[in-house]
């Protein structure tokens, strides 16, 4: 899935954010016209700019334009893009997707061994928020869910709360899902400040990788992280904030996984959802793969025990990023098709699988590193028993 393209910009000084349309009659002052073939006439309606595959344009005047864009096929009517002075065109929001996310910052105060989106130590907050401020009002009001991720979003500081308030104002019916390490909320006033946003559609997804501080701190490569996160979770609970716990499954988290489930029930019984997530082979993971890799088939016992313990206690539990053929059947009810559409792939042999429709598949990047036990289900029992590998 293409989310970024680039052309030659004319008359663009600062980053523009707008919706795209192929129909000149639909243009507004905050939309771009997409031009695949030759343009008939320069649009007379007010607009933000023109994005064109062509090499040239007539009657340009002072209008903002990007030319020589290799492709515009990936853009759907109503998608929202940012267009930079350098000619870069980023897709910020896709109307046909349920997985739209705002990247709050690439800064992070943790450095997880399996980070899928490694942090960068530069101050990108005001630049990114400048874009988000323009983007948020343009998002369709019927947007079902919007993610906020990083980096560590709370490092935005005051702007973090500013952004959440703006989102609540513009998108009161949208479920907001923030991925944070939760450490900032160890400071009670941060949790209190969040509660002041007063958005009951807001949920925080916070990772806890072990019940034992040293293992957690090692996995997230940050001293004091465990104690800060647990204290943060309690402060958030004090102000009735909605919380999801996220556990990534790998060689370092598996040995104490069942103990972690019990720890969550005993110490964090207020959480709304616990998600167990398969490892993504991207970002830092390939570099640390020796420390992290365990075939998912080989942790089914621990995963099953942890999931069923929590589910029996009445907690809402999910398994993400796993394939049905690797998961015991009693756990299928917890498996979700969670991978964002643009990162989602299947193995070639999956095409013949009778459960394909129900299976979450793999991250595209996990095509390179996956369970050895992936094989298609076939509806023909005889074939199954004779074993087609």
């Amino acid at each position: 899935m293409l989310l970024k393209t680039k052309g030659v910009s004319i008359n663009i000084e600062e980053t523009l954010v707008g919706k795209v349309t192929r129909l000149p009659e639909n243009l507004t002052s905050d939309s771009f016209l997409l031009v695949d073939d030759e343009i008939q006439a320069y649009p007379d309606k007010a607009h933000l700019g023109i994005l064109s595959k062509q090499n040239d344009i007539y009657d340009l005047d002072n209008g903002s334009v990007v030319l020589k864009i290799p492709t515009l096929e990936h853009l759907t009517e109503g998608d929202i893009v940012s267009v930079g002075a350098d000619g870069n065109i980023h897709t910020l929001y896709r109307v046909d997707s349920y997985h739209n996310t705002l990247l709050a910052t690439e800064r992070c105060n943790s450095n997880c061994l399996m980070c899928s989106q490694p942090p960068r130590d530069k101050n990108d907050v005001s630049f990114l928020y400048g874009i988000h401020k323009k983007l948020i009002p343009l998002i369709p009001k019927d947007c079902v869910e919007l993610g906020i991720s990083g980096g560590e979003p709370t490092l935005m500081g005051e702007l973090f709360f500013d952004m959440l308030e703006k989102i609540k104002h513009e998108l009161p019916d949208t479920e907001i899902h923030v991925l944070t390490n939760g450490r900032s909320f160890a400071w009670d006033h941060m949790a209190y400040r969040l509660s002041q946003v007063d958005n009951n559609r807001l949920m925080l997804g916070i990772p806890v990788y072990s019940d034992y501080y040293q293992v957690h701190d090692y996995i997230v490569q940050a001293k004091d992280a465990f104690y800060q996160t647990i204290a943060g979770l309690h402060n958030l609970a004090r102000y009735n904030q909605r919380i999801e716990i996220r556990v990534v499954l790998h060689k370092l988290s598996i040995p104490r996984l069942v103990k972690l489930a019990k720890y969550i029930y005993k110490n964090l019984p207020f959480v709304e959802h616990v998600a167990f997530m398969g490892l993504e082979y991207v970002g830092y993971t390939p570099h640390n793969i020796d420390k992290l890799w365990i075939d998912p088939m080989d942790y089914n016992k621990e995963l099953g025990e942890a999931v069923e313990f929590l589910a029996n206690k009445g907690l809402h539990v999910s398994i993400y990023n796993s394939q049905l053929c690797v998961l015991p059947e009693n756990l299928w009810q917890y498996a979700r098709k969670s991978i964002s559409d643009w990162k989602n792939s299947y193995m070639p042999e999956c095409q013949s699988c009778s459960k394909l429709e129900d299976c979450g598949g793999l991250f595209t990047w996990n095509l390179k590193k996956h369970s050895e036990h992936i094989k298609p289900f076939t509806t023909n029992v005889l074939e199954l028993s004779s074993g087609i590998e």
């Binding site: 490694p118 090692y218 029930y265």
Partner: protein, 493 residues
């Protein structure tokens, strides 16, 4: 770019170790020998670990090491038995959990028992208080006392109170119950209270008319059933020897009008019952109850006077309890849901982080904090057992009288303070260092009535003997058999 790489270099596990010089600090916890091979340690909020014999000593003597006892060390740390800092970094989390466990105290008195009549048409041999008489004037609660009791109930800080009508046979004074419910309904609106109504009855005199009133007002029926006919009728004497038949008919009628979930039954264990654990369990199962409460008889009133018939060794009760419990577990292993209430109460304390407000097994004790009794003649008692003790002329737990004492006199008076002193097992001799402290409770009324001392004496206490063994046994069962563990978990969902 270079700088970024150097600061983000991955570090080893050992660099995240906070421990200083292989030392650690102890957090408050308690220890008990569970079986010849295993011991248990329980922390201040009721989390436990089962360990091989000798581990407790090693923990205390700082002979557990992070590297050589990796898993155990992590367990001790993450379960709040030790910490690497003088004050655990998560002490506030532990404090929150402690507060949660004790939060049954938050709202103060919920259960208000109104003994609307002492009259009864039964003459149960273990009964503590009832009278067979027509003398309503003497043995029924007066309208004036009902009013005063309701007024006190409305003063409870608790926004959700339970009004329970007891006897004698409460239904012999049904017109007074109607009066009490109607008045309470009106006042509940004024004082913004949610009220749950319960009538305790042997069902002998229940009628369709009574039940329709119960249905209309959402009143629960709590009945008595001691087991199959030959036990029930032997225990519960009444002219015609038909107590059992009337109870069964009453249960059916009540269920048909109120619905199954609105009708419960309580059993009382007697010497005769002790010989028939399975039959009693089967009777409850056969009648479609989803649980049974295996209770020993209380040592009060006529029960103590009729010593030969009723005094049995706690050991015999424990044996009875275990046999019945196994029979119940067998039903579950066959796929039926059927639970034992006393076990469920204890298991909730052991396995969940939540408070369990069962008045007879709490610390601080349920007396006054969770329950108060307005007796038929206007006296106010700390618990149901207290008024039975009073029938033996021991008025130790009489807190006052509706005619002469104010809310403050009753709930915060000298008697209440005296009871409170012996109401926390955290500071009772023999309990203060007991591993099962957080699963158990204090019962000053039981102590005084059985041992003549409000603090009690644990080595001969039947309360202690019974609870120690039942708690120990429940833990042993679920730790030794995963299937039983699953059954127990299903009871506390």
């Amino acid at each position: 770019m270079e700088k970024e790489k150097s600061t983000r270099k991955f570090k080893g596990l050992e660099l995240y170790d906070r421990q200083v010089e292989k030392d650690y600090f102890l957090l408050p916890f308690r220890f008990h020998r569970l079986t010849p091979e295993k011991e248990i340690i329980v922390n201040e909020v009721g989390d436990y670990l089962i360990l091989p014999n000798g581990t407790f000593e090693k923990i205390v003597k700082r002979q557990i090491f992070k590297d050589s006892d990796e898993e155990l060390y992590g367990d001790l740390l993450s379960n709040f038995f030790i910490s690497e800092e003088k004050v655990s970094p998560l002490i506030d989390v532990l404090a929150t959990r402690y507060r949660t466990k004790k939060s049954f105290l938050d709202d103060f008195t919920s259960l208000h028992i109104f003994v609307v009549s002492l009259r009864c048409e039964h003459t149960c041999h273990y009964c503590q208080v009832s009278r067979v008489t027509q003398d309503k004037g003497k043995y029924d609660m007066s309208i004036e006392h009902i009013n005063k009791g309701i007024d006190l109930m409305m003063r409870s800080p608790n926004s959700h109170v339970t009004m329970e009508f007891q006897g004698g046979e409460a239904l012999l004074a049904f017109e007074n119950i109607v009066y009490a419910v109607e008045r309470t309904k009106e006042l509940a609106k004024v004082f913004n209270k949610k009220v749950t109504y319960v009538i305790c009855t042997n069902l002998a005199v229940i009628t369709e008319e009574i039940l329709l009133y119960c249905k209309e007002n959402d009143i629960l029926i709590s009945s008595s059933l001691d087991g199959p006919a030959f036990i029930h009728n032997e225990n519960r004497k009444r002219p015609g020897r038909n107590s059992y038949e009337l109870a069964i008919k009453g249960i059916e009628l009540s269920r048909s009008i109120l619905g199954k979930s609105r009708v419960s039954a309580l059993m009382t264990t007697t010497n005769l019952s002790l010989e028939h654990p399975k039959e009693i369990v089967d009777e409850y199962y056969r009648l479609g109850f989803k649980s049974i409460f295996l209770r020993p008889i209380s040592p009060y009133g006529f029960a103590v006077k009729n010593e030969r018939k009723n005094k049995y060794e706690t050991e015999k009760f424990i044996a009875f309890y275990k046999t019945a419990l196994h029979h119940i577990i067998d039903y579950n292993l066959k796929g039926e849901f059927f639970s034992e209430d006393y076990a469920s109460i204890i298991l909730k304390k052991i396995l969940t982080p939540f408070p369990v407000g069962y008045v007879d097994l709490n610390s601080p004790a349920g007396a006054i904090n969770n329950v108060i009794v307005f007796n038929y003649e206007g006296s106010v008692y700390a618990t149901d057992e207290s008024r039975m003790l009073a029938e033996m002329n021991d008025f130790s737990f009489k807190l006052g009288h509706l005619d002469t004492h104010s809310y403050e006199d009753i709930f915060y008076g000298e008697r209440a303070a005296w009871i409170a002193e012996a109401s926390t097992n955290e500071n009772l001799p023999g309990c203060s260092e007991c591993a099962f402290q957080s699963y158990c409770g204090a019962d000053p009324v039981h102590n005084l009535s059985t041992q003549g001392d409000i603090s009690g004496y644990r080595p001969t206490s039947s309360f202690c003997q019974k609870n120690m063994e039942i708690i120990r046994y429940l833990i042993e069962l679920m730790e030794s058999d995963k299937r039983i563990r699953t059954v127990f978990e299903s009871w506390i969902q």
